[in-house]
Symmetry: C2
Subunit: 365 residues, 2 copies
């Protein structure tokens, strides 16, 4: 066995340690699972029903063209099916996008502290990552554009709304950025949280524009992280190119059925949006009661400034985990003065309300 020089150079890593691994390590399940930006409110009952029906038909491969799903997504977004590609979560689509656009040594620009799985794929295909810092807890379009021009980037990554900070830019800021993407460069606009953002945070779709591709998912507002269905919207040429490299049967029949049913249940989506908004308020209130500063959020989590440095926030996080509250935090200063708390049920919020003061007491001691 002899790996390629590129593969040989890569670390064998898991970009995220899952809560299951942490539960195995601590020997007990978490009481509240608030760290992976999942939707504890669950999927649409109609999606559950569709998955149950599909389970009985799971002996059949899924349609490799994802026809029904892509038609439904196209109708939902008012575009054509040729402008929609679906895949194994945004993670899977990021891998395909990087593979299509980034060869060994090609430059890619992202923000220091932004989505690590994007970086994993860039490194994995031999690209060279260039980062710019966040600015005031926001990704910084101006700095990303400038860096992209300086290094001749093939690809820029920006999430809006942002993970891990929960912040967002107005649609006109993003539209202006898209208009200024350098020739030969593509903006990967990760809109995983678009369904949970204020409407004016999401610029209108323009699939004649080939300098941007927009990533969406069923893992967040639709509550289907465990199905792994993401999709991308963009120019037909770029979207069509995914057929050159994708795992054509990668989305099975159960996944496609669940996603189609979830998309059709806009009442459930509205219900989730309301519960998320309520829980964001609850998290903010709990944070403030404990003297911490909740940052504004357009996502299904609230990033909470613990008021000190990364060491302190890590101590708070560790103490919460010890108490059975699964949360995560940004990895890079100065973002790492914060912890990131996912929206939850009333019971989750009660658990957080009890645990946070204890965690803070433990962290200062």
């Amino acid at each position: 066995m002899k790996l390629t020089p590129l593969a040989d150079s890569l670390p064998a890593s898991v970009p995220f340690v899952g809560p299951e691994a942490q539960e195995r390590a601590r020997g007990a399940p978490f009481a509240a699972r608030l760290g992976a930006n999942e939707s504890v409110f669950g999927p649409s009952p109609r999606a559950i029903g569709a998955m149950e029906r599909a389970a009985r038909e799971a002996w059949m491969y899924g349609d490799p063209e994802y026809y029904t799903l892509r038609q439904a997504l196209a109708a939902h977004h008012g575009i054509a099916a040729k402008n929609v590609v679906a895949g194994e979560g945004i993670d899977g689509l990021l891998a395909y996008l990087v593979r299509l656009l980034v060869g060994p040594g090609d430059a890619v620009v992202t923000s220091a502290g932004a989505y690590p799985t994007f970086n994993y794929h860039v490194t994995g295909f031999g690209g060279t990552l260039h980062t710019v810092p966040f600015k005031g807890d926001h990704e910084d379009p101006e700095a990303l554009l400038k860096k992209a021009g300086d290094v001749g980037a093939k690809l820029i990554y920006l999430s809006n709304p942002d993970n891990p900070m929960g912040s967002w830019h107005d649609a006109n800021v993003i539209a202006d950025m898209i208009a200024r993407i350098p020739e030969g460069c593509v903006l990967c606009l990760d809109e995983a949280y678009a369904d949970l953002a204020p409407p004016d945070a999401v610029p209108p779709l323009n699939v004649t524009e080939d300098r941007v591709i927009r990533m969406r998912t069923f893992s967040k507002a639709h509550g289907l992280a465990g199905l792994r269905v993401g999709y991308a919207l963009g120019h037909a040429d770029l979207i069509g190119a995914f057929d050159k490299v994708r795992n054509h049967f990668g989305l099975g029949r159960v996944a496609q059925a669940g996603a189609v049913a979830a998309l059709a249940d806009l009442d459930w989506l509205a219900e989730v949006q309301a519960r998320v908004a309520q829980s964001r308020d609850a998290i903010a209130a709990i944070a403030e009661q404990n003297g911490l500063t909740p940052l504004p959020s357009a996502t299904n989590f609230v990033t909470v400034d613990c008021g000190s440095d990364g060491g302190f926030a890590r101590a708070v996080l560790a103490a919460l985990i010890t108490q059975g509250i699964f949360v995560r935090m940004p990895g890079i200063a100065p973002l790492d003065r914060c912890i990131r708390i996912g929206c939850g049920t009333a019971a989750d919020m009660d658990a957080l309300r009890v645990a946070l003061p204890k965690a803070l007491a433990q962290a200062v001691s």
Copy 2:
């Protein structure tokens, strides 16, 4: 947008046209779905139950380490979890394997007419494919080894039992081949049909041997093609390398739960094995009643020699499809004198019994 030179060179293709696309084209569903080597006998009822339960928990990401599934697979095969990697079907694992081992211009050897998705991935990562012919409707280990030596191959593909011919080699032939794999080369031994083969077709596992990796799947005997779960067994160094490139959340919670439950239900597996054997006999009898020659099969399909050339077999296939019987056939001469008929229910066999003589009459006219 500017694709990499490699991506630019690739065709935008779907390796297989799905039966759903054919149904859309013909404007009617198939009466019998016997073309994709699926298990019409369905998944284990326990797997269905597990998927139904997991559907309600689908808001949670699956464990990115696939811990429970890999532990179960390791126990099932009597090896360690470090010798097992799971992924998005064998197709997904083939992509990862090729990516790890095959760089631009690297030589890869397979059989002309063997699994096209393997070729798709080799081309997709810039490898150079070299083929050898089948020999007597079998893949030819001697020819594969000789070609691999001649071209300095990094990777050899062999399926045993074989798709599309249903043929198989005895375990000692495969074991002998493994022992003679050239240094620096890996044999990808696709054992998708191992659960349906005679025991003496499957060599014992030896995970200290780093020149072979063995691909298995839940899509065939386990009846879970629509979940997309495959796995590979091999040396810990090669298996561990998959962590460098894989989509770590690629198998969702529903997929992992279904696979774990299926693996635990060996009674269902035995039931499927019995029904497959019965249906193989039924297909063979129907073929013989129509003057055709069924080839021996160690899989869940029977490849039927139509007794003439590819043109004739294609006409038979087209006529069957017109009658609502979904079947496929090998793509390359002389294998393409055959059609490939999947095992089915009694109703499927009845439909085939009615349709085949009509299809033959239509093909000769």
